[in-house]
Amino acid sequence: MPDLSAPSISYLGLAPVLIVLGAACIGVLVEAFVPRHLRWNAQVSLALLGTVGALAAVILVAGRNELTAARAVAVDGAALFIEGTIAALGALSILMFAERALDPAKSAFVASAALPVGSSADRKLATAPYSQTEVFPLASFAIGGMMLFAASNNLLVMFVALEVLSLPLYLICGMARRRRLLSQESAVKYFLLGSFASAFFLYGLALIYGYSGTVDLGEIREVAARSGASDALFVTGLALLIVGLLFKAGIAPFHAWTPDVYQGAPTAVTALMASCTKVAAFGAILRLLYVGFGTSEWTWRPLIYTIAIVSMVVGAILGITQTDVKRMLAYSSIAHAGFLLVGVIALGDAATAGRGLSSTLFYLLTYGLTTVGGFAVVTLVRDGDGEATHLSKWAGLASRSPLTAAVMTLFLLGLAGLPLTSGFTGKFAVFRAAIDDGAWPLVVVALLASAIAAFFYLRLVVLMYFSAPAEDGPTVGVPGLPTTIVLAVTAAATVILGLAPGAVLDLAEQAAVLVG
């Protein structure tokens, strides 16, 4: 038997992922050995250290273009931009996890997840001042998995990363302190449907391997270019892979889990899922379609084109019928996933190469920041049962707390894509790239969907400002330092990226490099 030579690994290139996963591993040890009264602070600082450290590492390695660990992971502009975005949004979500001031029990997470809901022990612990601090290492694992998911140049690593990001999310979805049954139901739904989607991805992976004899995205592209892409194995495999990814990104018609899970999960976890998971899934979609299947564009372009339309229309129209703020934001995320697919379509042409990619990267950043902000405001509006998410409860909020209503209005305008907000810049960039690419019918649909979606965002604004406040309306909590930081950062980003997006757009432009 010949000697084995271990593959060379660029630890610097992998540093962002390794830092987050390392922080998660240390977090598990902290959980085991640190006494309970010290755990919360230790876990929060560790998780923040991991995500912020990863962001710093991304800035440090920016500019590298290489494949490492036997071509398994790409370290290139797009991967680093997405890793940085996930690290930043992840840090903001961790800050929301760490909020102590809003809930009277000092945390949004349950004290003991193993206790049956409503048992006497559970009721006794309902106001206990401690909670399951495992959520922090689990969130770190999820964030690390997301970063690797978007950077993997190999279908097998992509699949394992998909599981690494999903499994912790399934768990932390079910760990809300209030409305535990709803939270557990959302976790079970997400778990069952997520496993189903993973199975689709795995099936597609097997068929693509059967077709090409490799799981490496670059080699798949070469095989597809050599032999033509009309093979049934190839088309079926690609379709199944796309189904798995569309599920994770919450794109219609694979969106059915999104509203229920977004509503049931603790709001901080919803913010993590709505921002980071979406960014990671789109990172993987971009890499899969352009690195792996870039030469066989005409097999997937019509599919993505149709799905973009379906997702925009479903998200915008069903969003109107919602009566719950979290569900409304969930449908908004489905519509935004459709807008992002418009950017994915726009990457195809050689003449505009890069513009579709850079505009999608920029849109992901703006959308993620605005959505985290929106969910942060949702955590503030509370009544006796926890967060008051029914729309009727939000009536006349502006007279109770003008500042909260103003901040929420800013985020809603950003999501609607009104000028002078980051949402407008992002949409403009994506739509312009699509028009340059000749996909103007898609842009027309996207504009109509934006207009429909703007209706339900603005309806909430009208409700907050022009309705009489409800008699037994909710109170607006005074956020502690973590949520204040989140709100300040996301609100500032929504304004700045709307007024002066030049620097970040340039950064996205430079980052629009895919190797493989």
Binding site: E31, A69, A70, A72, A114, N154, V160, L233
Partner: protein, 270 residues
């Protein structure tokens, strides 16, 4: 693996084809049986059949390592864990017959068959007439096990290492969902319980259940020499049977005892 087998690897022999036609229907029957069984234990056992057949397939296709792993890990470990869980949760859980979405079952069956037909047909179409290649070379250098080891520690090193994150998450998750942390001092430990028992009025163990010619269930109380029931032999949380009336001793009385409602015969907790 023998040298001759390696040389002949690229040809599908008649033995291999025969094994396929024997194992294939068995695997399929197991899969169908698993879906159709009402009893969860039966489902699990059907699945064992499918997995064993899959292990057989791997052996036939000259992947002995994969075949052994399939049987040891999947059939041996994972399915047995399944059975443990089913036994712990209770084996008589039947399907809910309430459809929350009308027509869901029919739609699911039709779409499932349609999807299976589509994918199966496409794969059959794509693989018919394809010559198998590459088996000889991938098994050439030290055989199957060495080839897998080489791939695991070179090309797929990162995927292999990454699964550790998955395993840690799974372990932490199991702890979160199953482990209840008790405040220290909130309930007596083993030591406190022993001390309390020794200090209490009754340091010795409680009387066991009665053992009679026609029943030794825990639900049968023990009798004292005078024929009365030993009260401390009654088990808690369980409906006790009538003691056999030995003192008054007629055969009819004994029958009354043993032919009580079937549900209680095994001391099912009430």
């Amino acid at each position: 693996m023998s040298h001759a087998a390696v040389l002949a690897a690229d040809v599908v022999s008649s033995g291999e084809a025969g094994a396929f036609w024997v194992l294939g229907p068995i695997a399929l029957a197991g899969a169908i049986g698993m879906v159709l069984s009402r009893n969860a234990i039966h489902s699990a056992l059907w699945l064992v059949l499918t997995m064993l057949s899959l292990g057989g397939f791997y052996f036939v296709q000259q992947a002995p390592f994969l075949g052994a792993v399939q049987i040891i890990v999947y059939t041996g470990a994972i399915m047995i864990l399944f059975l443990f869980v089913l036994m712990l949760v209770g084996r008589d859980y039947s399907d809910s017959i309430v459809e929350t979405l009308r027509g869901q079952r029919v739609a699911a069956i039709l779409l499932g068959i349609g999807f299976a037909g589509l994918v199966g047909g496409l794969i059959a179409d794509a693989t018919s007439g394809v010559e198998s290649v590459g088996l000889a070379e991938s098994n050439a250098d030290g055989g199957n096990v060495a080839a897998i080891a080489r791939l695991l520690f070179t090309d797929y090193l990162l995927a292999f290492e990454l699964t550790s994150a998955l395993l840690i998450t799974a372990a932490v998750g199991a702890m979160i969902l199953a482990h209840i942390e008790h405040e220290s001092g909130s309930r007596p430990g083993q030591k406190e319980q022993s001390i309390a028992r020794i200090k209490g009025p009754r340091p010795q163990t409680l009387t066991g259940p009665g053992v009679f010619a026609r029943g030794n269930s825990v639900a049968a109380p023990a009798l004292l020499p005078d024929g009365s029931v030993a009260e401390d032999s009654r088990a808690t949380g369980m409906k006790m049977r009538q003691p056999p009336a030995i003192a008054s001793g007629s055969i009819d009385d004994l029958d009354d005892v043993t032919v009580d409602s079937g549900a209680n015969r095994d001391g099912v907790p009430t």
